[in-house]
């Protein structure tokens, strides 16, 4: 087994002391919240640091919190040599969610970021091909936002049952 979550958080905090906003090492799924601006540097650090070696990005997902008026983007990192993991969250404003892409760090981030863009409308700056991946190209709106309203028709095909 690799490092404990608290140790991983400590290593990250040493490097990015003033960018870690929140840390929960004893939660069921331990996570850290960092400033959106440092996500690419943090990703390079997590991948290349010999103690961490997070060589696998298992998931990027997003959650909409309309009551706090934020969208959270969650990065799940795994280390196959060290067999430990880390969850990093960034909190973005709901009206203009923008964050730097990590596509250059892990290639797999390409499609994950496109999915988060497609369903939640988070813009990943620097992404080479940020287009919808699941919905059709001319789809309107971001379906996983809480205030999303289903379209009545799509391309002339009715979408509601009366």
């Amino acid at each position: 087994m690799g490092l404990e979550s608290a140790q991983i958080h400590q290593i990250v905090k040493e490097k990015f002391a003033d960018s870690v906003l929140e840390e929960a090492a004893d939660a069921v799924d331990p996570f850290i919240v960092v400033k959106p601006g440092v996500i690419e540097d943090l990703a390079y650090f997590c991948r290349d640091d010999t103690r961490l070696e997070f060589d696998l990005l298992s998931c990027i997902s997003g959650v909409d919190y309309p009551e706090r008026n934020v969208i959270e983007v969650i990065y799940c990192l795994d280390s196959t040599p060290n067999k430990h993991w880390l969850i990093v969250k960034v909190v973005l404003p709901r009206d203009n969610p923008r964050v730097r892409t990590v596509e250059n760090v892990w290639r797999t981030a390409d499609w994950h970021e496109r999915e988060t863009y497609d369903l939640l409308g988070v813009t990943f700056e620097g992404h080479h091909n940020l287009i919808r991946i699941l919905c059709a190209e001319d789809w309107v709106g971001y379906p996983l936002r809480r205030d999303y309203v289903m379209p009545e028709t799509y391309r002339g095909i009715r979408n509601v049952v009366y």
Partner: protein, 183 residues
């Protein structure tokens, strides 16, 4: 084949000569229905089971699943039709030669199934896109149910007239429901 399958349909009794031609043609066509290899979701697993040895759709002459719509005369829509897929379904249907038949297999295809209320991406019934001849309810339907649907399609085929290849008289229409009136 059971004996009642061989008796001509009572609807076609007028034309003595064409009747027997129709009867022969329909007998051959209905016993070699070629379905389109077309699975969209989990119902396709049951469709594959129907084609495999245990349920063996080959007993009824439909084992030749064609990989191109141009050689198929039956489309089994097996699985959830999304709005992104609907234009492709329509195009495949248009590419099939007349006379052609459609089986709507499973709840999603009939009226949206579990996605009927909150599934923003699911077409609420494939009959909004293409005309459907036989509906098979179930989630997914058992292979026996799909075989029963095939028999219903064969029954429809035996009513065909050779002079009416586009099925003007027997083809169902695309479902165009009216919006509800304000009360």
């Amino acid at each position: 084949m059971s004996p009642e399958n061989l008796t001509p349909d009572p609807l076609v009794k007028n034309l003595v000569f064409m009747n027997s031609v129709d009867y022969l043609v329909n007998l051959t066509r209905s016993n070699s229905v070629w379905p389109l290899t077309f699975g969209l979701a989990c119902c396709a697993i049951e469709m594959m089971a129907t084609g495999a040895s245990k349920y063996d759709i080959a007993r009824f002459g439909s084992e030749a699943f064609r990989a191109t719509p141009r050689q198929a005369d039956l489309m089994i829509v097996a699985g959830t039709v999304t709005h992104k897929m609907a234009p492709r379904v329509k195009r495949l249907y248009d590419q099939m030669p007349e006379p052609k038949y459609v089986i709507a297999m499973g709840g999603c295809v009939i009226r949206g199934g579990p996605y009927v209320k909150y599934g923003y991406h699911v077409v609420k019934g494939v009959d909004l896109v293409v005309p459907v001849d036989v509906y098979v309810p179930g989630c997914p339907p058992r292979p026996e149910a799909l075989l029963e649907a095939l028999f219903k399609v064969q029954k429809l085929m035996r009513r065909e007239k050779i002079l009416d290849r586009t099925r003007k008289t027997t083809k169902p229409e695309v479902y165009r429901p009216a919006a509800p009136q304000a009360v």
